[in-house]
């Protein structure tokens, strides 16, 4: 155990969790601007919303079992774990064995598992639909995520630890395989956007259509946590994208790495909010079409990799 690594991990997770409502606030303001509305007063509105929710009383469906009661805590924790193990401030140190690509992908699966069970457990018909949709969206984007990421693993030589991938991508060797990397990156970027569950892909938590799906039955502090978990999930998936595909600039000072990581998050949110602000919700069938486009891109990157290796 390496003490600095533990400190970095704690600082990283605390800072990102504290900043993520700010990102959501920026997003809300941006969307309002794009839609010529006034929107929230300032970028801190999401903090006030969540704090307010923590203080409210709760209602609970009579059929909810312990899974429903603990789901917000578990989902929040799982996403905190993902954020903690991303190689932002600590790379290849004590936590190398926890920042494995497959491990993180399956942690998202764990989140989805709890999400699904909690939504049926609430007994609410809308929540059940949300839970079912969440699984379908994952089915559409998972092939893209895995194929795009696997191509990057191939070019780094078969190691699936994010720290190793980050080291390789930030080295000069990446220039030799740039086309492969770019195609795979675009495919992954698309999958990332779909996984964040924003418009036009906000199917599982569609507010107007199915009363925010899973969130329909939660209230008070559990709603705050569930809401927070979904915000953290967006940050986590974007963070995964950033740590695989955008490790630049490479700096040895952990604090600066964290600052740059946050800057990259803000940039992503800025462009994402543009997409979100000008689009309308797709039906789930159209999501499949869009996802197969992204899969094609990932597949092209695989072909390029094979050609490049043969040449």
């Amino acid at each position: 155990m390496n003490i600095p690594d533990i400190v970095y991990l704690i600082v990283q997770v605390v800072v990102i969790i504290l900043v993520s409502p700010l990102l959501d606030g920026i997003r809300r303001i941006m969307i309002a601007k794009f839609q010529s509305r006034r929107g929230p007063v300032d970028i801190f509105q999401t903090y006030r919303d969540i704090i307010k929710l923590f203080k409210r009383s709760e209602t609970m469906p009579d059929c909810g079992t312990w899974v429903f009661r603990s789901a917000p805590y578990l989902m929040f924790t799982i996403m905190a774990v993902v954020i903690a193990v991303l190689p932002v401030m600590h790379t290849n140190g004590t936590f190398a064995a926890a920042s494995d690509l497959f491990l993180i992908i399956y942690l998202f699966a764990l989140m989805r598992f709890i999400f699904g069970i909690a939504s049926v457990d609430s007994g609410n018909p809308f929540a059940g639909i949300g839970g079912s949709r969440e699984q379908m969206i994952a089915l559409f984007v998972e092939p893209t995520i895995i194929l795009a990421a696997i191509v990057v693993v191939f070019i780094t030589g078969g190691v699936t630890n994010l720290g190793e991938i980050k080291n390789f991508v930030s080295s000069e060797a990446i220039l030799n395989v740039l086309p492969v990397f770019i195609f795979s990156g675009v495919a992954f970027l698309f999958a990332t956007y779909v996984e964040t569950g924003k418009k036009p892909f906000d199917l599982a938590e569609a507010e107007q259509e199915i009363q925010e799906g899973l969130l329909a039955e939660y209230a008070g502090k559990r709603l705050a946590l569930a809401h927070g978990a979904l915000v953290l999930k967006q940050v986590a998936i974007v963070g995964l994208f950033i740590s695989i595909y955008v490790p630049w600039p490479v700096i040895d000072i952990p604090i600066l790495s964290l600052v740059f990581f946050l800057v990259k998050l803000v940039i992503f949110y800025y462009f994402a909010s543009f997409v979100e602000g000008v689009s309308t919700r797709l039906r789930i069938g159209d999501t499949r079409l869009a996802a197969s486009g992204a899969f094609t891109l990932a597949f092209i990157s695989l072909i390029l990799f094979i050609i490049g290796r043969a040449a």
């Binding site: 429903f68 936590f95 064995a97 018909p125 839970g131 191939f154």
Partner: protein, 654 residues
């Protein structure tokens, strides 16, 4: 070794002798195998490194059983699941008291376990085949303890496929022994075979054993036979009996001069089995049929690992072979634990509700909390969620596939990458499926109040049986470095080469990737502080919790409003409707304005593609052949005469 086998035989005899005393027969008939399994777990675990032999001399020939690391590993798995299933069976057999003889059930149960154990140690063609068929027959009788028209149909299908498979295995073995000039397995290694002959034997073994393992397209008997059997027997069948077929594939195919494309073919069949297995599982609403389809899926995942192993052996890359076999063998024991657990859990629900249709259940977690918890752990493990055991073996499989893809040509890279994507998609679908199973059975509001009111937690020994396997799932996950090291020894005995699988608490792959279930659990537990910290900081002490009905836009809530098993996968079935040919029943019961009955059930299309033509052909053939059998005595006499004349002619002129 003999002492373990004799204990089971003693159990069988004792159980048969007690056939008049139902209760005693249950305790003795399932208690003795439990003890024998506990002893076997210790015995075979210590056998994982070294080997021992057992020779039994009979007047005509001697029986030879060899316990090498591979056999010990499979024997260990059989005993582990056998222990849980036997303990569970003591109380589960109550369900059958008065209906069938529990003594006879215990008798067959003991023989079933011991014949599986002897299959994986037999070292002689004759004894292998005898116990192979014995295993089929005892499981056949065990299925028949649930006597119904459906069971009869399922068992006939099971027997037909098992026998075609058995015939293929026997043919392959006899071809081998002709080449070797001996019936002992020890003489089979490295004999001279022409390439064609080797390929023929490989196909005979692969599809012969595959029919027992449930590889697509010979998987059709699993979803029929497993739901029909008593639950502790389906647990054994699904968790370990189909693994003996995997043992057979590994044992027999390694005698042959391997080709690289065999490995690739195994991987293609593995990927197909995994994907189609889970897709059909999603459309089922009979819990046990669903679990049976998941066995098809997991056998596919095991084959992905073993396929890489064979590919590595063929291409002379021992490290790759070791990586593949580690993934495959690790998944063998993992699938045994979580599938055994899930079948026992499903059995508990059936024991209390007498219902296999999950659309009639719901909310059972409040009545059966321990069963629900055990089932949830099993569901998480089978969905490969970290830190449980399913994740570790799938991780090893992913790593071996990556290494194989990097080391092969363009075509190979496509296929191995395709297998990685297939495994990932299988993972997503498995999560979807087990969210459905767990939540529809155990959570929400009861869909049938009467069933729910009557249900209660299962008796102690059934819960104990399940919790043994819960423990195994957790230990095989968190103790991955240790377990992987042990399995590395087994794989080492096959491939002759190995790599370091553990470094401290980390599991290491052949490519140098590391992962640690323990570390991620530590991070998880420490992160659990964060949400509680937030609630503690911002909480208002005056806030209260009010229990209400779920909100349905102000109308009156009814349990019929909540989502059920079929709509949960509704969109998937819509997308994949080319694969799921729905069988729709639509019935107007009371004229136009009355209620209508509507039901739809997804059918396995491969039945109509592969099996219906064969069945029709056979019917056509026997129809034509029936001319020969017109029932006249004179005709049959003339057949006898013609045959006699034919042989006399051969004898004179030949």
């Amino acid at each position: 070794m003999a002492e373990v086998y004799l204990l089971f035989l003693a159990g069988a005899a004792a159980s048969l002798l007690l056939y008049k005393f139902q209760k005693a027969a249950a305790y003795i008939g399932f208690g003795i195998p439990a003890a024998a399994c506990a002893f076997g777990i210790w015995y075979f675990f210590s056998g994982l490194t070294g080997g021992s032999e057992l020779l039994v001399s009979f007047p005509i020939m001697e029986a030879k059983f060899v316990l090498d690391p591979l056999s010990s590993f499979f024997s260990f798995v059989i005993c582990l699941i056998g222990l849980a299933a036997s303990i569970y069976g003591i109380h589960y057999a109550e369900e059958y008291s008065g209906k069938v003889s529990i003594g006879a059930m215990g008798f067959f149960f003991n023989l079933f376990i011991v014949s599986m154990l002897m299959v994986v140690t037999a070292a002689h063609v004759f004894w292998f085949m005898v116990f192979w068929e014995f295993m089929t027959l005892t499981s056949f009788f065990l299925i028949h303890f649930n006597d119904s028209e459906k069971t009869a149909k399922a068992t006939v299908l099971y027997m037909v496929i098992a026998h075609i498979g058995g015939a293929a295995i026997l043919t392959g073995m006899l071809l081998m022994s002709t080449g070797a000039g001996s019936f002992y397995f020890s003489d089979f290694k490295g004999i001279n075979l022409s390439a064609t002959m080797a390929t023929v034997i490989f196909f005979l073994f692969f599809f012969g054993f595959g029919s027992k393992a449930g590889i697509f397209p010979v998987h059709v008997w699993l979803p029929e036979a497993h739901p029909a059997a008593p639950s502790h027997v389906s647990a054994l069948m699904s968790a370990v009996m189909i693994k003996t077929a995997i043992y057979g594939i590994i044992r027999t195919c390694l005698w042959l001069p391997l080709s690289e494309w065999w490995g690739i073919m195994i991987i293609v069949f593995g990927a197909l089995s995994a994907l189609l297995g889970v897709l059909y599982a999603l459309t089922q609403h009979d819990t046990k049929a669903l679990l049976a389809y998941h066995s098809v899926e997991n056998i596919g995942i095991i084959l992905l690992g073993c396929g890489v192993g064979f590919y590595g052996m063929a291409s002379g890359n021992g490290i790759l072979a070791a990586a593949g076999f580690i993934g495959g063998l690790y998944h063998v024991i993992n699938h045994a634990t979580f599938k055994g657990l899930l079948f026992l859990g499903a059995g508990s629900v059936i024991f209390r509700t007498h219902n296999q249709d999950m659309n009639k259940l719901g909310g059972l977690a409040r009545k059966m909390p321990y069963t629900a918890f055990a089932f949830l752990i099993g569901a998480m493990a089978i969905s490969a969620l970290p830190p449980l055991n399913g994740f570790v073996s799938e991780w090893f499989t992913y790593q071996s596939l990556i290494q194989a893809a990097l080391g092969s040509g363009a075509m190979g890279t496509f296929i191995f990458t395709g297998a990685i994507v297939a495994l990932a998609v299988t993972g997503v679908l498995a999560v979807m499926c087990f969210v459905k199973v767990y939540s529809v059975i155990f959570t929400g509001t009861p869909r049938d109040e009467k069933i729910w009111e009557k249900s209660k937690e299962s008796p102690f020994l059934m819960v104990a049986g399940m919790f043994i396997l819960v423990g195994a799932c957790i230990l095989l996950g968190l103790g991955a470095p240790y377990a992987a090291g042990k399995i590395m020894n087994v794989s080492l005995s096959i491939t002759g080469m190995g790599f370091e699988t553990a470094r401290g608490i980390n599991v290491v792959s052949s490519t140098g990737s590391i992962v640690s279930p323990v570390l991620i659990s530590i991070v998880f537990v420490s992160m659990l502080v964060v949400p509680f910290l937030f609630t503690a900081i911002f909480r208002d002490s005056t806030s209260t919790v009010r229990i209400t009905k779920p909100y349905v836009c102000g109308t009156k809530y009814s349990s019929r409003m909540q989502i059920t098993a079929s709509p949960f996968t509704g969109f998937l079935r819509q997308v994949m409707n080319w694969l799921f040919r729905n069988e729709v029943h639509f019935e107007e019961t009371n004229g136009y304005f009355g209620r209508v009955k509507y039901s739809s059930h997804a059918k396995d299309i491969w039945w109509s593609i592969f099996y219906t033509p064969v069945i029709k052909g056979l019917q056509f053939l026997s129809d034509k052949l029936s001319v020969l059998q017109n029932g006249r005595m004179q005709l049959y006499a003339s057949y006898v005469l013609v045959t006699l004349a034919f042989f006399i002619i051969i004898a004179i002129f030949g």
